[in-house]
């Protein structure tokens, strides 16, 4: 858990919400839900030490490992 980066991500998210107020007010409910979901995912991800945990890159390399191994030969 990296609380320093998490705090920064929360502040940035707050700034984004404030900056997008004009578009936000005019947007339908669905847009607002997707906006908050993605922002929430972004904030939650900031809690982790991302460079050292498994993620999409690990999944891609594992999925294509037979082909990848052919390249490394």
């Amino acid at each position: 858990m990296n609380w320093g980066i998490f705090t920064i991500a929360v502040i940035i998210s707050g700034c984004i919400i404030l900056a997008e107020q004009s578009i936000f007010k005019k947007s339908p409910r669905k847009d607002k839900t997707v906006f908050f979901t993605f922002l929430f995912v972004g904030v939650i991800l900031s809690l982790f030490d991302l460079p050292y945990i498994i993620g999409p890159v690990t999944a891609i390399e594992a999925f294509f490992s037979p082909l990848g191994n052919f390249m490394s030969k």
Partner: protein, 358 residues
């Protein structure tokens, strides 16, 4: 129907930097590790993937006019599978935006701004590209129209001024170990050529869609010429040592010396490359926004610009602790991922569409 319109030529000029920008610096070095002195042959094989991808894209666009790719997927394979596929594409585009921003930042901090943290470079680039995407596709197309000649001519001029230094014998022996090394080397640049797929997201914006194939092919030809020029440059200037260089084209450009007066033009490479990378990241960023708009049927993508920037920033570091890991990913994962997402799945979608007689 999209309100904003661009021409097919502008679309080609968008696609050119989107393919070439990452390809001119690190790709030739990685290709050379497999193809050695046959490095110049690899882009020729790789371009076949680009041509196939372009044909699939144009055929899909003709079969489903004025529809976005994710919309086509939903129509062809059904709503739930189409949405799942759309989610994969969205994650892929956000991940690509992040990863390309990271490649850009790693190059800048390794070669020029050695004391600047990588994250500062990524944030600066994402802020810039986010502002560009906010202005819409017409502005992005016009920006690329300005940047395209600068990018293409600079690479060409660098090759010309390096002519006095070239060592033609570096090309021999041709096909010393048969075709396999150059074919293996082609796996890396084919990932770049397959990026021509991204034009499918811009086709609904075209005012002259009938010229899409023509300009797509022109773009691929120019990309191929650029690839071959860059690979010849590094082969003729660096010889076998090109396999050890992370950024061989940059290293080769340091050999420029005209009358002991014009030297150190590697700074030009950096400037030109930043223009190219800016366009590339903007294209991927914009495509991510279009994908999210389609996937969730949003009324406008503009609200999603900053959340995507935050995610792209996080994806740029996710499981990529250093440039070694990025290099590893560019060899072991990216070529196959790009081929699957940009060529194989669209081909599958087209095949299913034909079987289901759309």
């Amino acid at each position: 129907m999209e309100k904003e319109k661009i021409s097919s030529m502008q679309m080609g000029m968008l696609a050119y930097p989107a393919i070439v920008a990452t390809a001119i610096l690190s790709t030739p070095g990685i290709t050379a590790q497999f193809a050695f002195q046959d490095v110049w042959l690899s882009p020729i094989w790789a371009s076949l993937v680009g041509i196939i991808t372009l044909i699939i894209v144009i055929k899909l666009a003709k079969l489903f006019p004025q529809q976005t790719f994710l919309g086509i997927c939903e129509k062809v394979v059904g709503k739930s599978l189409g949405k799942l596929l759309g989610l994969f594409y969205l994650i892929h585009f956000i991940q690509a935006t992040g990863q390309i921003s990271r490649v850009y930042a790693e190059f800048i901090t390794a070669s020029f701004f050695t004391k600047t943290p990588t994250i500062v470079m990524i944030i600066a680039m994402l802020l810039l590209t986010a502002s560009a995407t906010r202005t819409g596709v017409e502005t992005i197309a016009r920006i690329s129209q300005v940047f395209f000649p600068i990018l293409f001519l600079s690479i060409f001029i660098i090759f010309v001024v390096l002519i006095p230094k070239i060592e033609l014998t570096n090309i021999f022996p041709i096909l010393e170990k048969g075709l396999l090394p150059s074919l293996k080397g082609a796996v890396i640049p084919q990932a770049r050529f397959s990026e021509i797929f991204l034009i499918i997201f811009f086709i609904p914006y075209l005012k002259d869609a009938e010229n899409g194939l023509k300009w797509g092919l022109y773009t691929l030809w120019l990309v191929l010429i650029t690839f071959i020029l860059v690979n010849f440059t590094i082969l003729f200037i660096l010889g076998q040592s090109m396999t050890y260089a992370t950024y061989p084209f940059l290293q080769a450009s340091r050999f420029v010396n005209i009358g002991n007066f014009i030297e150190n033009i590697d700074a030009i490479i950096m400037a030109v490359w930043i223009l190219g990378m800016f366009t590339k990241i903007t294209v991927y960023y914009f495509v991510s926004l279009l994908a999210i708009k389609d996937l969730f049927n949003l009324s406008n993508y503009k609200l999603m610009i900053w959340p995507i920037a935050l995610l792209a920033l996080e994806f740029s570091f996710w499981t990529l602790p250093n440039s070694m890991a990025i290099n590893q990913f560019e060899i072991m994962g990216l070529p196959f991922l790009n081929f699957s997402m940009h060529t194989f799945i669209p081909l599958l979608i087209y095949g299913i569409a034909k079987i289901r007689r759309f």
